[in-house]
């Protein structure tokens, strides 16, 4: 077990080191997210109160920006066939998955740390009262998103279509995350108490646990040659 975790940590640490060097994923995702905010503000009718649809806007942005960044995750490993080097080493396939997942999670959470203030600024959202709840919703929603996202980005990287395949496969599967996370975010934004979104949080947690398990277990079949 300690070998599993230290292997996962080695992979996550390496990915984050690469990301802090190049910042390519973070910069492109964060810029994209801000542009989506700009596009939203110009495409929405001025009579629409952004606050009443902010939950949906935030999660659409997170999903699209996240999918954009996921594509690079396994492209890194294929540049000089480094994935083979990892597969020959003694770390279990599940640990490799967990490491890639943790690195992706960290990068997307960092992007979300930009998205929320920017949306707050652009659309006059007030996070104050529901901040703790929002933090939970975002964390749980992003974990589920990245669990499936990491698995499918590994598959997409091995296909002819590459990254363009990723959203096609991923989005229908992520509908539960969209539904529970967006509605909980919306409720918290309009000042409803945390107790009211407990059901959604529980469903998000269930989604996370189920897919962390399923994706870790099936990752071996994805990277196998």
């Amino acid at each position: 077990m300690s070998g599993f975790l230290s292997g996962a940590w080695a992979v996550a640490r390496k990915d984050l080191l690469l990301e802090t060097r190049s910042r390519e994923r973070f910069v492109s995702m964060a810029t994209f997210a801000m542009l989506v905010a700009v596009v939203f503000s110009f495409s929405l009718d001025p009579s629409v109160r952004a606050r009443s649809i902010a939950g949906a806007m935030l999660w659409v942005t997170i999903l699209f920006a996240g999918t954009l960044g996921l594509g690079r995750s396994f492209a890194l490993e294929r540049d000089s066939e480094a994935l083979t080097g990892i597969l020959v080493s003694p770390i279990p396939r599940g640990a490799l998955f967990l490491g890639k997942f943790l690195a992706n999670l960290a990068v997307v959470l960092a992007v979300e740390a930009v998205i929320f203030p920017v949306y707050g600024l652009f659309f006059g959202l007030n996070y104050g009262a529901g901040a703790l709840g929002l933090l939970l919703v975002v964390l749980l929603g992003t974990i589920g998103f990245m669990a499936l996202g990491t698995l499918f980005s590994a598959m997409a990287a091995h296909t002819r279509m590459g990254d363009s395949l990723l959203p096609v496969l991923l989005l229908p599967l992520l509908i539960p995350v969209v539904i529970f996370a967006a509605s909980a975010t919306q409720r918290l934004l309009i000042g409803r108490p945390l107790g009211e979104v407990q059901g959604s949080l529980r469903m998000l947690l269930a989604f996370d646990l189920v897919f962390l398990f399923v994706c870790t277990a099936s990752f071996g079949a994805v990277v196998e040659e």
């Binding site: 066939e81 396939r93 071996g220």
Partner: protein
């Protein structure tokens, strides 16, 4: 995790009836081999003979469609990782991350192998391939020869008993390939088992104890190196390949 030392007469590498199909393409068609500890085997063959696939099956990177592989008596497969610590793979691809420095690359692999004295091992490995001065530089800026030297350090970092080499000379200039030959000579220390795969007849013949020729996924010959006359080898090889095709 410690692995029990293999008995002296346990083959270092043993393959029984390994086959690989990619859909209907039959890349490797049933190969048996058994290598003693310390043996150096060179497999020659034209492009597309399935040499690389065979090598990758021997080191667990490719799962055989049929057949089994044992490393030091341990069957290879998922789960048990003892055998993975005994092997190293050097390919013409470096398996390195261009964005990381030489030292960071090696440190990453040291972590994957759970090596205890990481820092010391990495330093020693960098000195061994004469890259100590460049340890902090990103691999992106390295020449092909330097990358291949670093890849060699990566392969030998955990001191594997069995070393697999997949066309390691590809793209190396004469100086770099001279260095590589010197290292291969050192690997022939009676303790380490080496499998070298190449399509280039000028390399890997002098170090070999055993020489095999693979064509169309099959071995058409397997003989001790003494039985080969380097002067006529090229002609003999060409005839064998032509006869098999």
């Amino acid at each position: 995790m410690s692995t029990p030392p293999a008995g002296a007469d346990t083959p270092a590498v043993e393959a029984r009836g390994v086959e690989k199909r990619y859909g209907a393409l039959h890349a490797v068609r049933g190969i048996d081999l058994s290598l003693r500890r310390g043996e150096f085997l060179t497999i020659f063959g034209p492009n597309g003979a399935g040499k690389s696939t065979l090598l990758r099956m021997l080191c667990g990177a490719v799962v055989p469609t049929r057949g089994t592989v044992h490393i030091a008596g341990e069957p290879i497969g998922e789960g048990e990782d003892g055998w993975r610590r005994r092997i190293g793979l050097l390919s013409h691809q470096s398996f390195l991350y261009p964005g990381l420095s030489a030292a960071e690359n090696l440190e990453f692999f040291a972590r994957l192998y759970g090596l205890a004295d990481r820092r010391a091992r990495v330093d020693e490995a960098l000195r061994g391939v004469e890259l100590w001065e460049r340890r902090g530089d990103a691999v992106r800026g390295f020449s092909r020869g330097m990358q291949q030297r670093l890849a060699l350090a990566r392969t030998l970092l955990h001191d594997p008993e069995v070393v697999f080499l997949d066309e390691p000379y590809t793209g190396l200039d004469p100086h770099a390939s001279g260095l590589l030959t010197a290292v291969l000579q050192r690997l022939r220390d009676g303790r380490r088992t080496v499998v070298l795969v190449t399509h280039n007849l000028s390399q890997g013949l002098e170090q070999a104890h055993r020489v095999a020729v693979q064509v169309g996924g099959r071995w058409v010959s397997d003989e001790p190196a003494e039985a080969i006359d380097p002067a006529t080898w090229e002609r003999v090889y060409t005839e064998r390949v032509a006869a098999a095709q």
